[in-house]
Subunit: 146 residues, 4 copies
């Protein structure tokens, strides 16, 4: 039998609160999603004005970061034409995302969940996802990993 | 040009808080979803222990209640073999739900969103959805409609 | 943070060995699948002569038993016309199965995975799934739960 | 009437055992799938720690190698922009994979099945797939083909 750790609902609410706060600071109404280490959705918020088309993208980014255990930006680099992982986007029934804005949540060297943000530019999405992660780690008293 | 009213993120948070409170009271960890009047997801929470298979069901119930402007229990009745809505389940790319636990949010005679709850029995799902709606209306100072 | 227990690969191999042994005893070449508590596939076998159309059905039964935490036979009863869960089949992107032959794996009161079997009659599928579960529990020295 | 040769369950178990052994040697918990010459799944294993997002990718790589009778790396080359197979990825209901890590099993000049591996880098996936194939051929006393 395996024993695994994963984000709980209180962790997910902390992450969404961090995402909302940073999204408001930069003035971009985001869609933000939090999944557990199996890629299953725990919590989601679309701020007022968040794009309809970003609901699914945010959830897919979070799925990818949690289930494939790396940033979606990493998979974006890995999937350029000629790269080994080219065409990984769209696998998993279309849910594998290679668009920047998905980041795994790593605690004690283990991926315990994923965050996905969408509605701004790729840079804004990444910035909000990282701010949400930093906010959660700070609230939980966890030292960020490299 | 049309002007439409719809739930905002503060309303959705109030609904999810009401759902979580009632779910805890009855001891059933629920998946709860809130959509706007276009059926688009605003917010979602899976409480600790909520079923993996209920994530999509809760979102589909909310979609159906908001977009088709009636309870999913109503559509369940309407879709019995021989009834006029027979086979409406599964339309809309599989998202139309006829399982009880989806309720529309009605304000001033207009559907402004939908709530979907899943993880318990059908009766428990309906009870939590209605408690979430009542909690929101109370907090917002809105008189419930019949 | 949550801590959850789930089947590991050794557990899954034990379950598949138990399924294969019983399938051979009754002379029905089965498709058997094992998932973890999030419904994610760990291991699968189609014995020589197992039906092509049963590959997906076995995997879906296992998904449902693990993710929705009950037998697929239970959900079959719950989803008869007029019952509250009617039409739950086909949710979750078509993966929710209400065909008998899926059983959850319960240890210390927690669902840690699911087993799905398909290729025989419904009775044969259930029989093999239960034999596979019993074989695993016996090998692991775990007392079966009611 | 045609008579076709295809991998049986004993062959598939040998392939998965070879994959697991090599995966452990290089320290990468892999998802490995084996299909027959019709592309239909015979057996699958996700080792402890294998990525959730690799379950479907491994199965799709095996499907492609068995059904399209070449390595997925070959189809990756063939499907570069401007190449004749451009856009073949994603055909077959999304199951055609052009990500390296899928290899056909060839015996006496005939494709009798396919192997797909996913969870590591593309190079690691290919290495484990080839080690699994070599292990099977050695156990079965079959001389590898060029």
């Amino acid at each position: 039998m395996l024993t695994v750790r994963r984000l709980d609902i209180a962790d997910a609410r902390s992450i969404l609160a961090g995402a909302a706060r940073h999204a408001e600071e930069i003035g971009v109404p985001m869609c933000s999603a939090v999944v557990d280490e199996a890629g299953v959705l725990i919590a989601f918020e679309r701020l007022d004005g968040g794009k309809v088309s970003s609901v699914g993208i945010a959830i897919d980014k979070a799925f990818t970061a949690g289930a494939a255990r790396n940033t979606t930006a990493f998979y974006g680099d890995e999937s350029r034409p000629g790269s080994p992982g080219w065409r990984i986007q769209g696998t998993n029934g279309g849910r594998f995302s290679t668009i920047a804005g998905g980041v795994p949540v790593v605690v004690d060297g283990q991926v315990v969940g994923g965050i996905g943000v969408s509605s701004g530019t790729a840079d804004q999405d990444v910035e909000v996802a990282e701010a949400a992660l930093a906010h959660f780690l700070r609230e939980a008293g966890i030292t960020p990993e490299a």
